[in-house]
Symmetry: C2
């Protein structure tokens, strides 16, 4: 054995410290030599090396991101199955920056054969290919969290899942083969489990637990604001149990999957759709594959495109395709259906906000649905003003939420934060430094609900600044601002009136005494004069 | 045919406008129904839907990004083949926001069978798996540019490549099958081509051409600063030809591929390496697979880890792995070799900067190599002060470069910009508002060269803020700052001296006249007195 090794050992000395067997001189690289090294990169290798793109750049953020991905999946699964979610989040400190995070839900569970793929493979899932609002969308999150755990601790991810009473509870221990982006099953057993149905995932990872605005605690608090129908039990690393009770028993409105809207489809996508459709002629294709295209609209589009409704789909060349795209932009088409998106609702939003930020005044707004790049979305905003709990001076606090998930990082890069800055709050009676957020005892909430939230990175921390989205957010904030202004003005009026009232009750009796002495009035006459004057002034005050 | 269609047509009316055949009620989704929809997502689909992650979020940025990716590849290929790069960049305006961009190089060309993969498949390449400085690293860029072109115009990418004199020139037209992340060859022919060797890629895309700080023109100008050995011919969309001549005939130093450094390898990666190594025992493994591990260092690591150097690699369990990781952190290991990284060089950097920003004073610094997460890197900084061309008042201009590629977007998110803000420029005689960049006639250049630049997104626009990197940048800026301070002080001293000199020559003659009149001196005596006084004062001045 020792002999075998010698062949790979380099001699001692400066030259030796970097043993470079088979090292290539790169001076005369050729097309042939390069070709020998060109090969596939697996998506797992890519994200393992670039894990900061997924939110695993620091131990603190990694701990939060792993929990977030698991909670997102749990809530999505419960809601799709029509189950009111009750989740248990636990963070155990193992010392030396090692933690085990686990999230258990009461959802429908996962079929045994899907467990390895869902937790052990990047880019796998059910939400990417459909147009429907959900927290997860990419099929990366939870498997990336497991991969991060494996990279930093070498430990496999543990999953327990049961799909119903009387069915077996499966316990998996999984790793990702990053070179192949495939799950590796370490163990697979049936176990006793006290839950009737649901899924529990546990990941050992390198992390850091801290309090503050980007903590697990804060994330769960904001999750409760955005999801008043969820019961969260949090077992924190210090041994405390924190419970966020439901403030409503009503689940969010069910959302429907929709087809793409013609205005949101790009030329290249249209080309691919034409290849795949089962429809034979153009009008049929348009009606079949898109939302908001009736027979009439399909004919309008064909007319505007100068194409025949009966034109054969398989014979559409590049020229026809360009005409079709042009025809679509020229035709008036209804906005996409919005039953694919469910807002939190004005009342629920205030209820959630109120349970976390006690204040003197609340306002909220749910905007009508709008569309960016063919994707329907709804913006909601709320604000809480005044109260003991809020700082009277500092900058307002901005809570950002996307599809009911709180966003804690990259505030400056987020379209909703930028919209807060761009709104002119001085119009509504709040001070605001130039180019900054308003100042004072205010908390502002912005929620975007959409079938596809355009995040600026895979880690889903900030919303990209599409003009349509920014516009809607500003409008929602303005609506809240106007409500606040009315409150502030009426409060000012009340205060002015109170002050006048105070003058009257303070000075009139003295005037009465003065008059009695000057004019020699009786006490009764004095009373009458004071009463008359008070009445006069009160009427005037109103 | 009309009959067939009827079955898929929905009746007219509100309910009809969104035809939803096969629509599922999501109220009672189960584990089984969900499993039916869970499936793979191809990496092309993922990035097509998320193309803003790759820098294709707006037509203007898309035009620049496509050119950038092609230029990066061309320069990398030329340098690896030891060819002094001469590239031709062309932007043709087709009207209606359509452009054809093309980039041609004099590189080694690409083997015929690799052309489809390199241009028609995401995550394919030769640079991802090695540790060596290059512009490209991910194997995504150029195929993503082609995919963007296809999505927005439906047109295939065109590639011409020849690997040498006498060899055929291959002309390909390619599309990406996004569902499978595979190239689709539209046509493949041999053609006449006047170049001996090299590659030309042309992409038709939706874009926008504008002047300014984020324009193609600016990008090419900065590319010339960072690559003084490159000859760029730019045919702009207005019919002008702009040539950036070489300011040196010397190519950058050749860089070597290195093995990973033990301190940069995470537990999970170490685990995978142990599985794959051909070495049988621990000491052999350490010497074989890492840089800077001699026989002696390997033994030191084993001793610190309390493991036997002869321990069998295949029997290393989790406990041994943890010990090994601990042993590595306890052992003193030389920094990684730095011949994998080539700086631009202090002189070349000033030469490049000088050719674009005429100024009164230049300073530059190349820092010694440093390491973050096991990756060697070198920071360079330069500054240009004063001169007619620079604004006397506004904020300083910051040019950011990574592996010789200028970065034009996401300045605020970039570690090198943040380092400029954090440096205390007032120490060096420049005004600087609190929390801002310095003010005045200054241009600052920061270059990071590394085997792996940690970008904040796939679009490679900003460098992530690793403390080690930020530290090095600040040190480099401070060095430039000190040089500037010396210049500014000596200029101030010169100016003070000049002022004193001016006093002397202005007032002494008058004093001479006064003395002559008061003391009745002769003209000769007066001259002598003035001369003596001048001499005295001059000496004093020094």
């Amino acid at each position: 054995m020792a002999k075998k090794e010698k062949t790979v050992q380099a001699p001692v000395g400066e030259k030796a410290v970097a043993p470079v067997r088979k090292e290539r001189k790169h001076i005369h690289e050729t097309a042939e030599s390069m070709a020998a090294r060109q090969r596939d990169i697996s998506v797992s290798e890519f994200f393992a090396k670039n894990r900061h793109l997924l939110g695993f750049d620091s131990p603190r953020k990694a701990l939060l991101t792993a929990i977030k991905e698991a909670v997102d999946n749990s809530l999505d699964a419960c809601e799709e199955a029509g189950i009111l979610p009750a989740i248990i989040v636990e963070v155990k400190n193992l010392g030396r920056d090692r933690y085990i995070i686990s999230v258990q839900d009461n959802g429908p569970g996962i079929m045994k054969k899907q467990i390895p793929n869902i937790f052990g493979k990047l880019l796998y899932g059910s939400k990417f290919h459909r147009l429907k609002m959900s927290r997860g969308q990419q099929g990366i999150g939870i498997s990336a969290a497991g991969m991060y755990g494996m990279l930093t601790t070498g430990k496999p991810v543990e999953i327990i899942s049961r799909t119903g009473k009387g069915k077996p509870a499966h316990h998996f221990r999984l790793q990702i083969d990053t070179k192949k982006n495939k799950p590796e099953i370490v163990s697979d057993t049936e176990i006793e489990w006290d839950a009737d149905h649901g899924t529990k995932v546990a990941i050992e990872l390198e992390g850091k637990h801290m309090q503050g605005r980007q903590s697990v605690d804060e994330y769960l608090r904001q999750t409760a604001i955005a999801n008043p129908h969820v019961l969260i039990t949090y077992l924190d690393p210090n041994g405390a149990t924190i419970i966020y009770e439901r403030s409503t028993q009503e689940p969010p409105a069910h959302t429907q999957e929709i087809k793409p809207h013609p205005l949101g489809v790009e030329l290249g996508v249209m080309q691919a759709m034409l290849k795949e459709t089962r429809a034979r002629n153009l009008a049929g294709f348009l009606q079949n594959e898109f939302s908001r295209v009736s027979k009439r609209v399909a004919e309008d589009i064909c007319a505007a495109a100068e194409l025949k409704p009966g034109a054969s789909v398989s014979r559409m060349g590049h020229v026809e395709l360009e005409k079709l795209m042009e025809g679509i932009t020229k035709t008036k088409i209804m906005n996409p259906p919005t039953n694919c998106v469910a807002p939190i609702g004005e009342e629920q939003l205030v209820r959630g906000l109120g349970s976390v930020v006690p204040a003197d005044f609340y306002a909220s707004t749910t905007r009508p649905p709008a569309v960016y790049r063919g994707n329907p979305f709804i913006i909601e905003a709320a604000l809480a003003y005044g109260g003991q709990g809020q700082e009277a001076d500092g900058p307002a606090r901005v809570l950002r939420i996307a599809n009911r998930v709180p966003l804690l990082y990259q505030q400056g890069a987020c379209c909703s934060y930028q919209a807060v800055v761009q709104t002119n709050w001085r119009n509504y009676g709040i001070t605001q430094p130039r180019g900054g957020v308003p100042q004072g005892p205010v908390t502002i909430v912005v929620h975007m609900a959409s079938v596809w939230v355009p995040f600026t990175s895979e880690s889903k921390e900030a919303i990209a600044a599409y003009p349509e989205i920014e516009d809607e957010i500003i409008k929602a904030l303005q609506e809240c601002g106007r409500k606040l202004k009315i409150f502030l003005s009426s409060r000012k009026r009340d205060m002015d009136a109170q002050r006048k009232q105070d003058y009257i009750s303070t000075y009139l009796p003295h005037i009465g005494i003065g008059l009695r002495e000057l004019l020699g009035l009786s006490e009764k006459e004095e009373h009458k004069v004071v009463e008359t004057l008070t009445g006069l002034l009160e009427r005037h005050r109103e």
